[in-house]
Subunit: 245 residues, 6 copies
């Protein structure tokens, strides 16, 4: 255990998520876009419709959803090197963008999407923990907005999105079970788990990592239950954002 | 001449700039940050203080200001390839970030800044022409905010910023002289000039380019006069943003 | 569900792992090395002691364990492009090598390791599913062999390895729960989970992914129990290999 | 102002350019080639006809002119790193080659050139200031030689070159206005401007930069007039080289 | 001369090669594969049939053979940086893989191979000198196994392999002429020559290098005769491996 | 055998080299420089003194000589891609520059050179076969000029160059033995050998390659004798160039 003294939460209970807002149509040019704010974490998520498909899907009548992720150099404490200047994306970046893509693909019917792909971009403009889960939750709304355009334009006739998907982090910090970690909590915690779940409470992805201390099966179950509670709130906010739009 | 039919401006005269807003302290972690909006063009500019200097300035007691520039992939019409994924910055990107750096260095006294550098990041989140000039105008405010921190903390005793600097574009479109081009105008115009000017009306940078048609000395002078008018308004907005802060 | 017709297992039950062998000291020059074979999957794992530490650990008296992963181009069906020739490691490669490093670090006391790092290399020479979990299980033995050298040479006085760690995959295929998937099963399954667990049955990493179909909490628990059974057998084989040595 | 003591010019007045020579057909294999020497600055410029066009011009019946620029590692004082070994072209290199390309395109009628491109290479073998302007002036002759081949072979029937183009630098050094700066002058000067102008005295590009001190509109006009005088001499030398050929 | 004290050979005479073994069909998925062991040097060589040809051979009815080479990071004493992580292959790697490709192409009739290529991979898992010559000798067997598959499947009707090819190193060490250098000998020797020769005793490649001391024509001839003796033994082992298969 | 009809030589016998010229001090800034012309092949060779040594020679009192090689994009028939733009040096380029470096190091006493390195650059401005051998022969003169400067400045007291070195190619073309191949001959020949030899007729490097047809030991000896004759003439031209200087 790291035993870093992290103070008790002041403005929320351990099992409460941070304040959440989702602003649809945040950018003028993308086919779908949102600004999602989870506490101090702010991510711009966009969806771009591309009538081409990757090479491995040519002539199959099926679509694809893929994602890219980035952080503004000054989005976090202590400027990070710009990946475009470094000439490559870090392992962390690639891991996150692969996770976002898989999470969204799990709720999309690729036959109904037809022979086109939707390119998701998640760009963190301010980071305070949970950027990958915020990206997934926000990207789902951007994806939905783009799909709504395809439906409205009559390009596709059936909605390829089977159900909503959202994500949140949970962690163990000195035996406390915490929902929706901010950056100081995330850095100090013994184990943290990112949970991606659908509206029907099925798991899509679960990534649990213990750098400091390991965790038991019982803790895993308690953490996932905690995550489920947080995800319900995000799913509601997603629906609200889509309804407002 | 390209003779592309660009309609007359509806909401402003040819010699009027676009609506401008500068929001200081837009991000939580950077030493200085603004969101600058010039019409539909929106750029996040940040300044990060770095107590190291580049190798060529080691042990000289002098500082440096340098800049990087990027665009979110979905910031413009038609998603661009993410430069971090492509593995390199385009020639255009490098040209722009070099211009931003030079423009700011022209108004900073490096001896007074002392042995440290200020790293500027300009990230375009929405693009509608004039992203490089908006970046310069916004970056000056971010730089000033970071310098104010150094002064407030007593790290430096004298303000190294000699005077304000701002930038705007002007162009010739079918014999009309236009101030502050938006993207359709910029794409259609015969020649366009980016002008970087100080509060004392001295030129810092002037970059005039004629892909379609060439331009005369007289036109150059008229265009620079037009730019000067626009820059005065930007300088006022910069001062207002710094005063509000 | 994908409903790809995968035949029943002939030579083992659904809850049985593949045949496992771990050959210690497989290479002459590395400080620790093994060849691990899980069915047709074969990975060379090596551990190299490096008396330097990464920059972020300078002068802290603490050590580090990090890992790299690769596949011979002809290790799998259909030659893959050599990553050294392509000029970069794929996202998948980076994701796997980060997982291996985290898994091993979870059981190492970095203070006891002292100011040095151990570099793990996992190179797949033949691939038939489960290369990342085989890499973790084999790398633990290579790491132990290298640590034993440090102890034998008197470089460190206390064993920094707290307990053993091993990994295995489990998956859901047409409602069957399968332990230790081979490649055809892995490609066809609806969801698969990689479980990294210690000798004391604590979880280190859990990565569950549903590209085809999502999975419930109950399925997750059944799968992890299945994995635990397989990991016990691997832990025994690791101890045997270390004892033989 | 930098106030570096640069001695007065000995062999020429402040408003005189350096000795200029243009040797046509300097290389055996290129479609057009020259060696241009401006004082101690020596650049090999070549033009290669390529019957392909860039992707964005496919099937439009229009051509293109593009340029690349490089310096031999030992061309300047103090060997520079070879860009091919470094694995990328510097920002400065990209900025210069984009400038050369734009300058030449401004005088070429792309419809008359037809569906082909001309690739310009400017390689500096000895550098003493003004390599980008020498490259433009020399490249125009190489381009003309290649175009003459197209005309002679009957591939095109009308000359696509509308008029000649040339370039020179001017600068302010301790209040002196200097034409055609050599390297010590260029390094010391307060502001320098590269002027690209056509035979009809129209401006194509103007790039003015003040790193040390800013400059006024009046100075800008005086400097451009000075440049115009120098460019007239270069235009004459270009015509002579083409006539000799 | 380096005069590094290298002890006399204990287990073999100066004109004897190291123990050699060639294990055919070492990997399950490649079209041809061997493990070749020359003393402590161990290389996995594979051959993959690819029904595409390089661009320069399109529509010519002729085939190609090309090779790639790599070393596991921990294959030699002192871990080397992984080339995939470094982002490029070293000059040494490229030189070796070009040599392997040329050596094999010299004995293949490309018309008889038809419009397809065979991709050779040589991956050193343990290095003790002579990895490039072992790679050539092993790759010939892997290539033959792949060709045999093409013949067995009736894809081609005539064997495109004209004759066998093998390679070995020879060197001068303190006036001793040595056959088949191991790593300590290779590092210490004054000159070393890699000889690639066919079954009909014709030379395919000869690469002689003197970093320490130069060598005479007479020495060259003696060394090549020595190499010829070693190559005869390798050719026999190759035939045995193919016959066993 | 390729049997490409290459006409008999008109202006020289099969055993005669091409016309050779070596112009010392070709560039103003390098510590040593030449332009070497072998027939239509023209290479600029420079030597730059660098008071730093590579990491592996730190604090050993010994020096180093290393080389880089490049070709202007338009130096050969059909423009090649610029390696700096491609972002990497080809395998051929790396092979050649490694050869040049080794060839020069073979005649330099690194203790006498002292703790510094000499960086050689060979840049082909016009290519007609034999660029690597011309580079070696020219680079030796550039190296000697730089060493002479070190001696003249009293930086070193003894000449570290033990003897001269030069290189030439020989080849077999339809049973004719040819000295100093031009490009059409080099492309057509059955085997070609690059020979690097010292003034005392010792071999430094020999690289023989048979893509088309193999060659016998007897042919090898005849070719090396032919090369020796050509190298004598180059050695004389080198001495003349150094004496003229």
């Amino acid at each position: 255990m790291k035993n870093i003294p992290i103070p008790d939460r002041i403005d929320r209970a351990d099992n409460e998520p941070r304040e959440l807002s989702i602003t649809p149509n945040f950018l003028a040019h993308a086919d779908g876009s949102v600004l999602i704010c989870c506490g101090q974490t702010k991510v711009i998520c966009t969806a771009t419709i591309d009538e081409n498909v990757p090479a491995f899907l040519k002539n199959q009548g099926r679509g694809w959803v893929t994602a890219e992720y980035g952080m503004l150099p000054a989005s976090a404490n202590g400027r990070m090197r710009r990946e475009a200047a470094a000439g490559k994306q870090s392992g962390r970046t690639q891991e996150i963008q692969r996770l976002i893509g898989r999470s969204l693909r799990a709720v999309v019917d690729m036959e109904k999407l037809g022979s086109r792909q939707i390119l998701i971009d998640c760009d963190v403009i301010q980071a305070d923990g949970g950027t990958r889960t915020a990206s997934i939750s926000g990207a789902f709304v951007a994806l939905s907005l783009a799909v709504n355009q395809l439906l409205a334009r009559g390009v596709i006739s059936e909605n390829p999105i089977r159900e909503a998907v959202a994500a949140i982090s949970v962690g163990i910090l000195n035996d406390r079970l915490l929902l929706d970690l901010d950056y100081p909590e995330d850095s100090a915690c013994d184990a943290d788990i990112n949970v991606v779940m659908t509206a029907s409470q099925q798991l899509v992805e679960i990534q649990g990592t213990a750098e400091g201390a390991t965790f038991s099966m019982q803790q895993l179950n308690e953490l996932i239950s905690l995550a489920q509670k947080g995800i319900e709130q995000i799913l509601a906010a997603q629906q609200q954002a889509l309804a407002d739009n």
